[in-house]
Amino acid sequence: MIGKLLKKDALRRVKNPGGFILLLILPFLFVLIVGLAFGPSGGKQKSFSIKLLIEDRDKSLASQMLKFAFGQGELAKLILLQPVQGDTGRKQMDEGKASALLIIPAGFGDSLLHQKMVDLLLIKNPSEAFGPKIAEETVRLFAEAGDRLVRIASEPLARIGKRTDSNKAPPDAEIAFISVQINRLIGRVSSYLIPPKITLDVKTVSVKKRSSASSDFYAANVSRMMVMCLLFILDVLFRDIYEEKENRTLMRLRTGPVGVGRFILSKMLFAFLSGLAALAFVWTGAAALFGVRMDAVQLFTFIPFSCVLVAALAGIAMLIHAFSRTRAQSNALSPAVIIVFSMLGGCMIPVEALPPFMQKAAVISPVYWGVNGLQRITLDHANLIQLIPHVLVLSSIACSFLAFSFFMIRRKILK
């Protein structure tokens, strides 16, 4: 019986798809507009900077000078330098939080002074298009410059090396002599005759959790817009209860073998299935249009989470109609409730951008748990265990709101 009611509702939607299609397109339009205004490739030109991590295992004068070189002039505006120690650099790289990691090996300064071969290690983030490349070129430039300097000033450097080995300060005359020699040599020697003494070893690490900044941007925004549009879609679907009441088809159904309970259940089930279909459609569209992709592990979390999310949102939409006495009341009430919940839940403005007291209040909006959950799946690769609080909150809302609304609407119809 419920199957026949579902089939009928599906046929009605197929025959009159206008409003539904518009609501399905809305998330794309919103995300596109937001993308054009604030996104990775649009709007005002954003200040571009490269985050370069430097792990200095040498801590010598030479390594300090290399680090110092990145902080000079225009380069300082382009490259955001962050010294790291131990595993923190690798960790940040694994999480895709920097463009590149430069490791200055222990003994770098000594090797330069004694004109030995020395390797710098640069680890690049593959998910960024330009930052790592620029970092690589810059480090390579410094390496070559340093190498030339070592070649040209081999004799004075050897003298400095000897002095540092003996821990005796060179006399003033010797310093003056070394300086003069360096000046002469710089002007005289051609670099192409000399094989490099400083080499740059470049590695690209696999970033586990981050996709491209662009797809992250769209994934975050699709999550936000999708939840809000889902609420509107579910609201429209539950309005059908009023429509059937006003069109007298509900009355005719009640004179036949369909009870009020079955009728409401069919509407709930149809809203739930349509919500899931809408969610699937929007994510498929987002993958095609914005490159928002999910791997198998993410999908494994996304599918059950979507079920809980759609059920909770259906609970909210149904509750609005349970409290409205007429279609006019629900027409006035539902946009207000949806917009307030959506704003508070971070659909329009990221929760982090809200004032602190609103950030605390955001957790009372079921929308917050939905948006946050979707973003954690798509951006942080969170699994179901990590999303237990979200699932618990959403499933509690779903059960309580749907059950309460079911009885309220049933009572209203029978009355």
């Binding site: 019986m1 026949k4 089939k7 009928k8 046929l11 009605r12 025959k15 009159n16 069109n247 007298r248 088809t249 009355m251 005719r252 159904l253 009640r254 004179t255 036949g256 073998p257 369909v258 009870g259």
Partner: protein, 308 residues
Amino acid sequence: MLSIQNLTKSFSGLVAVDRVSFEIRKGEIFGFLGPNGAGKTTTINMICGLLNPDAGTIRLDGADVMTAGPAIRNKLGVVPQEVALYEELNAVENLTFWGGLYGLRGAELKKRIHDLLDASGLADRAKDAVKNYSGGMKRRLNMAAGMIHRPKLLLLDEPTVGIDPQARQHMLDLVRAFSRQGTTILYTTHYLDEAELLCDRLAIIDHGRILASGTQEEIKRIVGENRLLMVTGRFSRSSAEKMTQKIRQLSIVSISENNAVYSLPVQLGTGKFLEALVSGGFKIDNLGVKEPSLDSAFIKLTGRELRD
């Protein structure tokens, strides 16, 4: 087929149906006649289970409708006053859905749909969305949907309200066709001519109470061999009452402000009545004469015309 005893329903203290009792025999068309607000639709809603009565019993084929469970609904077909169809769907899709709810499927359902569309003259528009139908076409499909599962009792709630004469005639033909197929029909209307044309027996209801029931002849006998004289104008109540002193056989049916209805034997003629009106100082705006009929019976029973 259907037996109703002492059916009562009140809404916030207002008695909408007051101890209504009547019986419908198998295969007949039973007319339920009364003005708007008389309690016809409330009675129908209780029969089809949309409303619970405060008191009384409804028995269909011997089973109590209130306690028999949903299975008894299969014996009932309801055609609501307003069109109750899915306007986005076409006629076939609508009938397929309504038939499917009652367990019809496959070839049986297809044949039934084909027959009903033929009978209601909609076969050539079967694939058009209902929203593109005229009012009359929607009404016919509305009736076909009520008949899709071959109910034993078809409840028709004023099915011809608001449609043009041609569509109305088509609807009446359809009702007769269903009746010929053996369906028992409860036909509510406030059109006396429809009741006279269609109904084997009827009941007249007003203010929630059955005023008379029986065959048309039995109801007409309530008026007897009298004609009704309806006077509208300016006159006092006492002068209206004095008319019966001037003409002995004259009786008062009802008197209200500027309106009086009298009953006068047919053989007396109206000349003496007119003389009495003039001599009584009546300033007459309108004078109506009703020969013995369902209409005059209704006026005699309720004190007003059905269109009031």
